[in-house]
Amino acid sequence: MSFEIPADLYYTESHEWVDPETGRVGITDFAQDELGDIVFVELPSVGDEIEQGDDFGVVESIKAVSDVYTPVSGEVTDTNDGLEADPELVNEDPYGDGWLMALDLADEGELDDLLTPEEYDSTL
């Protein structure tokens, strides 16, 4: 089984991604596949300050509850409100319409702590 791993994102070992251009954060194609049918997403509030590695929300599938951890520190500038009605978007489009939150990155240097697409691929 092969999973989509876009080249322009950074990744965590706990299967989140961050887009350095937009500040958007989500879970990877591998993560959504492991979880199965996602039925509920709990997200932080806009304005929350979160630190790299903190859990910022919860993604629940029918079979599992999973905390999600922020790849980088920053202030939450937006959350994906569409997931309230359609949490399955995380399954269908984990790097697109299934994004979770957007951050104003506190320190771009933190990106160096993350995995490149090649490095992430090698963990799967």
Binding site: G36, D37, V39, F40, E42, V58, E60, I62, K63, V65, E84
Partner: protein
């Protein structure tokens, strides 16, 4: 049996709208035979096996001296004329303990036989037999195609022998989904042939759980557990499996509880706020006092609403009562709702 073959949601929808097949060979099979077979079954199960005619099945529980459910089961009274090789052939009773309980039940049956001085053979056939469940509105047509038209006449909670792909099967009109369908026992050598005889959605444990949850059916080990969450049949809401006019292990404790009324009762609820109830979450009243515990929960694939099962103090168990389920420290409002949660099911 995997948790899912494709997606729990797709498998669940297939069973509700068409048909699905489940490999439930992890369930146990124990055969009981001999002059005191009926006495042995009667003394170790809470329901009245003497109500069974050959070919009939009965839902029952196995209780300890305190009336606590050790396991729930289906008991078959086996006809004497089953074709050779059919599961149950030659035995008087066949019962189905849950996965992982077969050795414990075999031990319980043989120990009781010895202490009560009964004359009966008890054989654990779990390794010898497999079971598939074919469930859904199209299940009757599928099983009739595979096993012959006669299976259409098998009534609810009865079973008949039939042949599928040259394999001698015991075909029961039972299930765990709320849909019409069959559970089919066969000698394990026939497993591939029987599984392959049905062209419908293969389903895993995930869909099995969401389907039974929508109906409010108990899951052994999760909705009752003799060690972690000991419950009696009266607490678990399966009063109909307790025949107090028979003598069985646990009968006196259950008679006393029946008289006094259980302190807690098994209920269904629908969460009115966003979230998913899960096993172990607290249930509280309007003042934040703990009044019970969630034992099972999910996002209902059919309804799109979060539903759950659990135990609450009897005073809060009435239909329509408002309670709260604590999800990650937040109380979420829920309404007590007697299952089945789906309309048009019994």
């Amino acid at each position: 049996m995997p948790v899912e073959f494709d997606s729990i949601r797709e498998e669940h929808a297939a069973v509700r709208s068409a048909a699905g097949i489940f490999d439930v060979s992890h369930m146990g099979e124990i055969e009981v035979t001999g002059p005191d077979g009926t006495a042995l079954m009667q003394q170790l199960t809470s329901n009245d096996v003497e109500r069974l005619d050959p070919g009939e099945a009965q839902y029952s529980t196995i209780t300890n001296e305190d009336g606590v459910i050790l396991d729930d089961t289906v008991v078959y009274r086996v006809p004497s004329d089953l074709p050779e090789g059919t599961p149950g052939a030659g035995a008087d009773y066949l019962f189905i303990p849950n996965a992982g309980h077969d050795a414990e039940m075999h031990e319980r049956w043989t120990a009781h036989r010895e202490s009560a001085g009964l004359d009966a053979d008890v054989e654990n056939r779990t390794e010898d037999y497999g079971i598939v469940a074919v469930q859904g509105p199209e299940a009757v047509d599928l099983v009739a195609d595979a096993a012959g038209e006669a299976v259409r006449d098998i009534t609810r909670f009865t079973a008949e022998p039939a042949t599928i792909e040259d394999t001698p099967c015991w075909v029961a009109r039972t299930g765990y989904t709320g849909e019409d369908g069959y559970e089919i026992l066969f000698p394990v050598e026939g497993a591939e042939a029987v599984w392959g005889a049905f062209d419908c959605q293969p389903c895993g444990l995930g869909a099995r759980d969401t389907l039974r949850l929508e109906m409010g059916y108990l899951l052994s080990g999760q909705d009752f557990n003799s060690e972690e969450n000991p419950r009696t049949p009266f607490e678990a809401g399966v009063d109909f499996v307790v025949a107090l006019d028979t003598e069985f292990v646990g009968r006196d404790a259950l008679a006393a509880q029946h008289e006094a009324g259980p302190e807690q009762l098994f209920v269904g609820f629908v969460l009115e706020e966003r979230g998913v109830p899960r096993h172990g979450y607290d249930i509280t009243d309007g003042d934040g006092e703990t009044i019970g515990e969630v034992t099972s929960g999910t996002m209902s694939p059919s309804m799109g609403d979060p539903i759950g099962l659990g135990y609450v103090d009897a005073a809060h168990a009435d239909d329509g009562e408002t309670v709260h389920v604590t999800i990650r420290d937040e109380p979420k409002q829920a309404t007590i709702t007697a299952p089945p949660f789906l309309e048009g099911y019994q």
